[in-house]
Subunit: 331 residues, 2 copies
């Protein structure tokens, strides 16, 4: 018997990746994929699917790469024996829903939860690397990101491409619609809204806040002091992060590298002689998190710095969701 | 009587900016500019100038935008009444040479030193912003950079332009010569060499080490715990930095902003509603350091985060050198 796997948001960048990569995670004979394009009728609380609702109800697993609005409606329609793995932020911080990066907290899947949240892409990549130091103790984390245009979906990617094409022809760059300002040849604070007011978290954008809260939940360090500065760069695909971490112990550089090398999901790219370090043109289109530039702080014995790069549409979204499904299937 | 001002390295990006901007710092009637293209004869310790050495010896001020090798030879040829303002790293960490950002430690110019070092571009921009918090106390600094291709000179800029042109035409990107890997559509660890070995500073690249050492010297906080991650992004001009700073006191967000707003050389660009923050396409071609995204750490009361952007060829090089000259002229 083959599993019916429904992919909601099948025409979006994440949905496309899920459908493309599914055969890498399950054998062809094990599943039948069904793509569902989704749309919420404006002003109404009705989810429309390009295929039929009956079809969705017959799926064993539903993987959603659609919006939070769609995800909330999907949950209401799920049957008891179905599993929903959702890539939106709708359920991530719900205490009853596991937020899973299989290499880090995959043990949560043993309970076979019917709803699993797939974390924010930047948080997934960060947690894969930080998990290397869990036994040593994580006392403080700081991250600055170099995020790709495709993190904003197909429209973000197309906008960057159009801007590059215009600049190359010496033409005027068309007015940006996805990003608030021109991204080509520029660097932009992440285009999510800023948390207003004056209480904790004021001034952070929503992307940064997801990284902060989700990293704490995934690593299960509830009060971890962590901050993030999320910035878009004119890169098509794959996110890069500059990470600083205060550990519980004074590790030697070699010991730190050894922990990273042994961490599941990490590939070390740290060649001092040829200046070869993690970069998006190499980390894209594969599933490992590239880590390098590992070094000890010049003044603080327990502080390490490194950079990482990974494909935010694969390990940061589609592949992580498929890993979750695979773990549930293998039970 | 007009001042004769010699500009060595006059055909380089910094030299061109110095010659272009000089009239903004001194009245036309006050000076006569003389450009000198410089070249060190390969394998020999001889500095060749496109104009005559006699001409250089008649200059009251010599501003060099050339290499450290040229700078070391220039110093040997300087007459007692000449001033040398050098943009290379040859003299920056020499304890007998002041390293000056006029807004920060311009008082060092009152002694009329014959040789003044112009700091590293990334360090200048950082110090202009950090100086706002000197009275509060700086306990720890961490910076991740988004540096422009023109920081690697004309050849770096042209290489990025060629890569963008090839990509827009769907052609193969020519083999990089200035940067170790393709910069267009990518993010690269800074292309300076990595400090080897296992002692303090191992694994840092030379750019990062300059930021660390020079920031300590400019701010006169000798043992300041500071780290930097220097990264190139596909931007033509102006550097951006994500900065985290641990202060001596718990400042309110408003108090922190007030200090930054009052800091000489800083322009606040911090509009939460429209996501308008410092970015290179706006900070280029002017002399202020744009600062924004100011926010308090969610966990650490004395920690602030912000980002900044500034033109590394102007405030990060040419304009800073001209400010130094202007201060010496005004005496």
């Amino acid at each position: 018997m083959t599993l019916k796997v429904g992919v909601v948001g099948a025409t979006g960048l994440v949905g496309i990746e899920i459908l493309k990569l599914m055969p890498q995670f399950l054998r062809k004979s094990e599943f039948t994929p069904v793509g569902f394009a989704s749309r919420v009728r404006p002003g109404e609380n009705i989810l429309e699917l390009a295929s039929s609702w009956d079809e969705l109800r017959r799926c064993d697993y539903v993987l959603s790469g659609a919006t939070s609005e769609v995800a909330l409606m999907l949950r209401e329609h799920m049957r008891p024996n179905q599993f929903l793995i959702d890539n939106s932020s709708a359920f991530r911080m719900d205490p009853s829903v596991p937020l899973v990066v299989p290499e880090v907290n995959g043990d949560l899947l043993k309970a076979r939860p019917p709803l699993v949240a797939n974390p924010n892409c930047t948080a997934i990549l960060l947690c894969v690397a930080l998990a290397a130091f869990r036994k040593v103790g994580l006392n403080r984390v700081n991250v600055a990101t170099y995020q790709a245009a495709s993190g904003a979906g197909i429209k973000g990617l197309e906008e960057l491409d159009r801007q590059h094409a215009a600049l190359a022809k010496g033409e005027h760059v068309p007015k940006p619609e996805v990003f608030p300002f021109q991204l080509a040849g520029n660097v932009l604070s992440h285009n999510s809204s800023i948390r207003s007011g004056t209480s904790v978290g004021a001034g952070y954008n929503e992307e940064e806040w997801k990284v902060i809260e989700e990293t704490r939940k995934i690593l299960d360090v509830r009060h971890l002091p962590i901050s993030a500065t999320c910035i878009r760069v004119p890169v098509r695909r794959a996110h890069t992060e500059a990470v600083s971490v205060d550990l519980g112990e004074d590790l030697s550089l070699e010991a730190a590298r050894e922990l990273l090398r042994a961490a599941p999901g990490v590939k070390m790219v740290d060649d001092w002689e040829s200046n070869h370090f993690p970069m998006p043109i190499e980390s894209q289109d594969q599933d490992l998190v590239f880590v390098g530039r590992v070094r000890k702080d010049p003044s603080l014995a327990k502080t390490l710095h490194f950079m990482l790069s990974g494909d935010q549409l694969r390990k940061g979204a589609a592949s992580n969701a498929l890993q979750i499904m695979k773990a549930l299937v293998d039970g």
